[in-house]
């Protein structure tokens, strides 16, 4: 069953979904957007996996913010992921808040799931996507492409369904979440849960924990940038004033910028979803199921991989990408890897980059 549900766009109802936790989600909804046309032999489908706070609007205008698609530089006619040739699918991940089942959607009792929603994993997100691909009548994907948390999903796609994809593009990502990344996520979660409006996650009848979610976003946003990038963009410049105020107003431009990022975020994202998705990322360790041996996760794969990192990304540093590449080499898989230079830190993967474009275009052929 498909339905149009406002901001969610197209939503597929996909039945039950068994989860890593052992629980079963009774009624999975997946909201998705597509670009381009599926060819006759259904061989040109490309699945885009989005990052933590992104959504299905990869190459079309976001219905809530009115902003252009978050990967418009990468997806479109004549772009590296060329919608003249490819049928591009991007779905809202499990646990998120733009139409796919998550803590904001309704539980069977008619009230929002909130914190009763089962804890999910990256693999669960991938299983939900696989159900969508089944629903669309596609056996095999030409490519699965993603950056950051999207890259984790790509890796997990190959681990779960190696026979269902030909090419994998993993950008600014990692095969497991590091202690530092878990630590930053915990700061964000604690900020949300410390907001009295959070109310144990039960805020759908009252005020949302916007202050807590905004602080979580501010802390996270710093990790997406680089020190050099922040220095270049803001330095120690003051915001709309000539002298320090000797108070706690946003004296510095960088403070004002972060506050704006926090406030803008709460209009489009749900606090409980933020808790669930960050948890899923923290739980991610692809090698765990293989006795800690990452190469074993890729054993026998015939998928072609392209791995890209950025030199100023300290959230998902190049060393993490190299771990993936070394494991793929050890498994005898076909892999390309390059570290690109950018001043923009982790965010570089979302920005226009002729080099990244050239690599993705060349790799996908």
């Amino acid at each position: 069953m498909n339905g149009d549900r406002g901001a969610a766009g197209t939503v597929a109802s996909l039945g039950e979904l068994g989860l890593d936790s052992g629980e079963t989600l009774p009624a999975l909804d997946v909201a998705y957007e597509t670009y381009g046309t599926l060819n006759e032999d259904r061989s040109n489908a490309v699945l885009i996996c989005h990052a933590l706070t992104m959504d299905q609007y990869a190459a079309s205008t976001h219905p809530v913010t009115g902003k252009p698609g978050w990967w418009l530089g990468m997806i479109g006619p004549g772009k590296p992921i060329d919608t003249n040739r490819a049928f591009v699918i991007c779905s809202n991940v499990l646990g998120s808040c733009l139409g796919t089942s998550g803590p904001t959607s309704m539980a069977p009792d008619g009230a929002p799931w909130a914190m009763r929603f089962p804890v999910i994993t990256i693999a669960d997100m991938v299983r939900a996507q696989a159900k969508l691909i089944d629903h669309l009548g596609i056996d095999r994907l030409h490519a699965v492409v993603g950056g950051s948390m999207g890259g984790m999903q790509v890796l997990n796609w190959d681990a779960l369904y190696p026979e269902r994809l030909d090419n994998a593009v993993v950008i600014a990502s990692a095969a497991r979440h590091s202690a530092q990344n878990i630590a930053f996520h915990e700061v964000g979660r604690q900020a949300i849960m410390a907001d009295p409006n959070w109310n144990g996650g039960d805020y759908h009848r009252g005020e949302a924990p916007s202050a807590g979610l905004a602080v979580a976003r501010m802390a996270a946003h710093i990790t997406y940038l680089s020190e050099a990038g922040l220095t270049e963009k803001f330095g120690r410049r003051l915001q709309d004033r000539d002298a320090k105020s000797f108070g706690f107003d946003a004296d510095f431009q960088v403070e004002s910028y972060l506050r704006h990022q926090g406030i803008a975020f709460v209009d489009r994202f749900d606090a409980n979803s933020y808790l669930y998705i960050t948890r899923a990322m923290d739980y991610f360790d692809l090698a765990e199921a293989h006795g800690g041996k990452l190469a074993a996760a890729f054993e026998g794969t015939s998928t072609r991989f392209c791995v890209v990192s950025f030199d100023t990304d300290w959230l998902y540093p190049t060393s993490e990408s190299r771990e993936i590449v070394h494991a793929l080499n050890a498994a005898g898989a076909e892999v390309s890897f390059v570290e690109l230079s950018s001043p923009f830190g982790h965010d570089a993967f979302l920005l226009e980059s002729p080099e990244l474009n050239r690599i993705v275009a060349g790799f996908l052929g």
Binding site: A327, G332, R358, G362, F363
Partner: protein
């Protein structure tokens, strides 16, 4: 194959149709692209310079950015028919270790390098008293990436120490081949095909 560098032309000619090959220090992937197109070779590359890697991947080749000195350990033993090290041996920190990795990963290994015992190099040092700057070794001593100059005689000795046998050898002067006789004096560069005993 006319666009290939002379040493790569020698290698390309030898590789049979459908073989697998790891090109270590593959640059922009000229040899790989040639063999993939002409002989359906399953080619993989390793290259240090990110711009070269981006160019190669942009052409649809499978190239990993990495360092021959540190990143070969992950490749499976005997996983390629051929491992190639062209004009790269003299730039690595430990040529002996890189060569033994080459012999481990490939069933056979191609190695090409500029010969530091060529008469012009010898003459430059003997009569000029200065480190040689030649056509194949154009950099000065302080800015050269060639940190381990090697002669044909040195290379033969190292191959022997590593338990590798020389199956074939080619010697080049200018862009054409030259005789094996007195190659250590007369060849500008050499290409060896090795196999572990």
């Amino acid at each position: 194959m006319t666009s290939l560098r002379p040493d790569l032309r020698v290698i390309a000619k030898q590789v049979p149709h459908g073989a697998s090959l790891l090109d270590i220090g593959c640059g922009e992937g000229a040899l790989m692209a040639n063999l993939k197109a002409d002989k359906a070779v399953r080619a993989r590359g390793l290259e240090l310079d990110p711009a070269n890697v981006a160019a190669a991947v942009g052409k649809g080749l499978s190239v990993v950015q990495g360092d021959a000195d540190t990143d070969l350990g992950n490749y499976m033993t005997g996983s390629f028919d051929y491992a190639v090290l062209s004009q790269t041996l003299q730039t690595v920190h430990r040529p002996d270790l890189v060569l033994s990795e080459l012999l481990r990963i490939g069933q056979r290994a191609f190695v090409s390098f500029p010969n530091f015992a060529h008469w012009r190099v010898r003459a430059s040092l003997m009569f000029g008293g200065r480190m040689p700057v030649t056509r194949l070794l154009p950099e000065r001593w302080y800015d050269t990436p060639n940190i381990h100059h090697v002669t044909i005689a040195d290379f033969r000795a190292m191959a022997d120490e590593l338990g590798a046998s020389i199956e074939q050898q080619w010697f080049l002067s200018g862009d054409s081949s030259t005789a094996a006789t007195a190659a250590n004096l007369l060849a500008e560069h050499a290409v060896f095909l090795l196999k572990k005993h």
